[in-house]
């Protein structure tokens, strides 16, 4: 039963579990606390920052949290 309440995700390429009903905003906050400079792709679609708190992750979701680094 406890088990049912968790979802299996792929976050930045690595497997990760999260509580059911976790929002994207909650998930991102565990990865970065930068207020800007971050973008999120949910299953290869960009989710604007404004939508992070309205979307809950689902089992099997693939989430990528990216930022700018030196390059090019």
């Amino acid at each position: 039963m406890n088990r049912d309440s968790r979802v299996q995700l792929t976050v930045n390429g690595r497997p990760r579990q999260a509580a059911d009903h976790t929002t994207l905003a909650e998930l991102v906050s565990t990865i970065s606390d930068r207020p800007t400079g971050i973008a999120v792709a949910l299953n290869n679609e960009v989710v604007p920052r404004g939508g992070w708190s309205e979307i809950s992750v689902q089992d099997g979701d693939r989430i990528d949290v990216v930022t700018a680094v030196q390059g090019g």
Binding site: G13, A39, N44, A68, V69, G71, G72
Partner: protein
């Protein structure tokens, strides 16, 4: 009387005084990067998009903000049009800019652009409202195609990224410049200041350097060398060089020579 003031680099609806774009890759540290950017006088610099590394301390974005340099995200590392498009969209969301330098490379050994994927990526990004600056090869036909699909500039490589081999085919760069209706930015392969001057003398509108500066023995000094090189090359291009001659041409007059003074007198 300050000609630079009257000769800005214009891409799309923006303009800059500096014609040097500095890539941030390869800088020894974020602090070093800040000094490089300052010394180079650049106003525009590229960054790559990568997954957040929780262990990273500091952010290149903080350095850029402190430097007052505008950011140009790239799609470095992408191998397909789809990857490049997604990366561009992530960059737009993260950095709040619809400008993107599009890179779609074909393999890791040469990092040469894949022309077919590149055109597709650019077409889709232009349609989606991006200001697109593609890293392309030195093929004049591909450069023209990229302009036709709406790119705001073209960025032909002089030689493979990071190779330091300079401009492998100056004739092709000249052909691209001659036909282009958008700015031409020499990208990739610059090894030293002489290469940057050469690019500008061929008529390029700007030069992008990264490794040539950040991996030089003294990056700060090389940053300044590149700043000066781009200015020198631009001036030389506009000044109109003398033509090449097979024979010599004296710069001193023949009249009034002392000939006849000695020996034969």
């Amino acid at each position: 009387m300050r000609p630079e003031a009257a000769d800005p680099l214009v891409i799309g609806d923006r303009s800059w005084q500096s014609r040097l774009i500095v890539g941030t890759g390869g800088a020894p540290s974020l602090e070093g990067l800040g000094r490089i950017l300052a010394e180079s006088g650049t106003e525009l610099t590229t960054v790559a998009m990568r997954r957040v590394d929780a262990a990273a301390s500091g952010s290149v974005l903080d350095v850029l903000r402190a430097s007052g340099v505008q950011v140009l995200p790239n799609t470095a590392g992408c191998r397909t049009a789809a990857e490049a498009v997604l990366t561009a969209k992530l960059a737009r969301e993260a950095l709040q800019t619809n400008w993107v330098k599009v890179e779609v490379v074909a393999d890791e050994r040469t990092l040469l652009p894949d022309g077919l994927e590149l055109v597709q990526a650019c077409e889709r990004l232009v349609t989606d409202g991006f200001v697109v600056l593609p890293y392309t090869n030195d093929d004049p036909v591909l450069a023209r195609r990229l302009e036709q699909v709406g790119c705001a500039a073209v960025m032909p490589g002089g030689s493979p990224i990071g190779s330091g081999l300079g401009i492998g085919n100056p004739h092709n760069i000249a052909l691209i410049v001659e036909q282009a209706g958008v700015p031409v930015i020499l990208d990739a392969g610059i090894g030293t200041a002489g290469d940057a001057v050469r690019a500008m003398e061929l008529g390029c509108d700007a030069v992008l350097v990264a490794s040539a500066v950040t991996r030089a023995a003294d990056p700060i000094r090389m940053a300044r060398a590149m700043k000066l090189a781009v200015l020198a090359g631009r001036d030389a291009y506009l000044a109109g060089r003398i033509s090449r001659r097979y024979w010599a041409e004296a710069s001193s007059p023949y009249e009034g020579m002392l000939d006849g003074m000695l020996g034969q007198s």
